[in-house]
Symmetry: C2
Subunit: 374 residues, 2 copies
């Protein structure tokens, strides 16, 4: 295929993405307020088929669309209120926005989430298995915001830390730690907010399906992490290792000082979604004796060759976990089998009916958490 | 004044608020990226006079304005990028938004804050005294998200809890508690995020200007708190006491169970800003033997008559604190003097150069925190 053909195909794809889809007029009329709405807000709504209905008051606008896996037409009533309905969506959480006269804006009806490089709206399509991340009246852990000084960036940074409920009740007990990273154009809030890390862990621990451990969630977007002084990259060097520098030099030492954690590889895990899965594989391969549990959710890869080239990794790694949504094509089953063949314990997981989105990653955490530190 | 005159005045005021102010063409050209911008974003910017410059790419829009204490005109360049500049603003934090063809939206350049009933943009105008809320390399406390079961709403609720740095290091020490509430159309994030509660406290404690104590920040918007069962209000009853019901029956018992705190009135404080100040005065008067320290920041009032009518309050209250911005007219000096005359220790504080906004409240917390639990 010539470059010109590729370019034409790419223009066509862009046009298709921007083409307006008619509002879904066949939707079942059993809409309920979306679960991530702000208190007191009725819209957006979701029906039992997973279709989303959005309303926005914008009397002065000439064109308003829902941008949720395509641009859906909205129509204006006599009061200047625009309404539109999407086709049924996959179960789970989706970022979306509203396009007003060509300008993207969040739907003011929902709580604000950071994804796709912006603070914007999020919709939750209930799934049959959603119980596992619901807030339940079980012993509640906590999500702690922790600021710390970073030598590598010469600035204060912050992270979120999940502490299991029992942490404060056992002042002499030490805990294992999972370092858990977000995806591209997301941030350190993602896992705790749309990921529901706290609820997933509280529920697993209450059911004794997971051992209590600590989870550290930090900001890993390499191009926004500016290394300074002795940590600054050489002129022209790639910056996608900036998070690795901060993790190894600042975050892990801070966590091991500020929290009651074990400091050996057997009690240390790293996982991430999408870009965070790529970081996990790169960091684990570059630090082969540091992480016993390695989780790559819809991102990253670890070939037998890479493992064999990373001295000590095979002996250190107790589990390599690879997952994807069933609507993704990442070959995690074959990837895990290839590692098993060289004697590395590897497990794959496929999230049924989901794509490169948060429900895949919530389920991945739910599965991964049951397998580690045991 | 007749009702009709009032209505005409109100229409005129609304028209003035909606009238477009020309972009500030006299602004000093020393603009720097705003402190609350998302990583990597240059705009919005603030200059040394406190003027704000906003940019938005919106090629399809026919009118774009900055809504920041008035609606400022923005103009479009040949690339469809709109730019506008406001007059100098008061120091401190302001909520604002962009109006695109009449529809309000957040500025995608800033981090997202909840205020004015929406997740939206916030701008920080540096102040000469801003050091007190800056993140510094001092021992860091933490902000903990805590979920709990509420009997009163028959649902899981959550709050944010500030724990001083030393909390985890003193497993046998108990701490006093301040219950600290947000204003109308804000939420439980406000004090920790735009209020910088954690930084204010960490800095005060590091300088030994405040004793270490715990701060609990919950969601108090009465009309969105739905009481159930035995706690449900009688048909037609006002709901502005819903937060009081939750605080006294759920939040305080949860905090006293889950955290290492003293449980007597001498070690319990309540404060709030604006609506939260009103809640503080009502709750303290209705529970006169429960709070030794009472802080009303730009809201609420406590007259000598009210104190004398609340049996036990005079004996319990060690300090009543009333504050306002110098651009507000609340009579806090006279209010405190009136209480002093009946033998209640009361202190007033006026934040110079600020109005009914967050910098007033950050400074109020900074002052109040130095006076309590001593």
């Amino acid at each position: 295929m010539s470059l010109m053909m590729l370019s034409a195909a790419s223009v066509q794809a862009q046009q298709q993405r921007n083409a307006t889809i008619p509002s879904n007029s066949q939707a079942k009329e059993d809409f309920q307020p979306n679960l991530t709405n702000q208190p007191g807000k009725q819209y957006p709504m979701v029906n039992s088929e997973g279709a989303v209905r959005v309303q926005l008051r914008a009397p002065g606008a000439t064109s308003v669309q829902i941008d949720l896996g395509g641009r859906y037409e909205m129509t204006k009533d006599e009061n200047g209120v625009w309404t539109g309905t999407t086709r049924p969506q996959d179960v789970g959480f989706h970022y979306y926005q509203i396009i007003v006269d060509g300008t993207a804006m969040p739907d003011p009806g929902t709580v604000s989430f950071f994804g796709a490089g912006r603070w914007g709206s999020g919709i939750e399509i209930p799934s049959a298995d959603m119980d596992f991340w619901q807030i339940k009246d079980v012993p509640q852990g906590s999500i702690v915001e922790k600021y710390y000084w970073s030598k590598a960036t010469e600035s204060m940074r912050h992270c979120y830390v999940y502490l299991p409920n029992e942490y404060d009740k056992n002042p002499n007990k030490k805990y294992p730690v999972l370092y858990l990273q977000h995806g591209n154009a997301e941030n350190e809030y993602g896992w705790a907010v749309q990921g529901h890390t706290g609820q997933i862990m509280d529920n697993l621990i209450a059911q004794k399906k997971a051992v209590p451990f600590i989870i550290v969630m930090d900001y890993g977007q390499g191009q926004n992490i500016h290394l300074k002084g002795q940590y600054a990259p050489a002129e022209g060097a790639a910056t996608n290792d900036a998070f690795q520098v901060v993790l190894m030099n600042d975050i892990i030492p801070m966590v091991e000082k500020e929290f009651r954690v074990y400091t050996d590889a057997a009690h240390r895990a790293m996982a991430g979604l999408s870009m965070g899965g790529g970081q996990t594989s790169r960091i684990a391969l570059a630090n082969p004796t540091k992480f016993a549990y390695i989780g790559m959710f819809s991102g990253g890869s670890m070939t037998p060759e890479a493992v064999q080239g990373a001295k000590g990794l095979k002996e250190t790694a107790k589990l390599v976990f690879m997952s994807q949504g069933s609507k993704e094509n990442r070959g995690v089953v074959e990837g895990a089998e290839a590692l098993n063949k060289i004697g590395v314990k590897a497990v794959s997981y496929i999230s049924e009916g989901t794509a490169h989105e948060w429900h895949t990653w919530r389920r991945s955490l739910y599965e991964f958490a049951q397998l580690i530190f045991k």
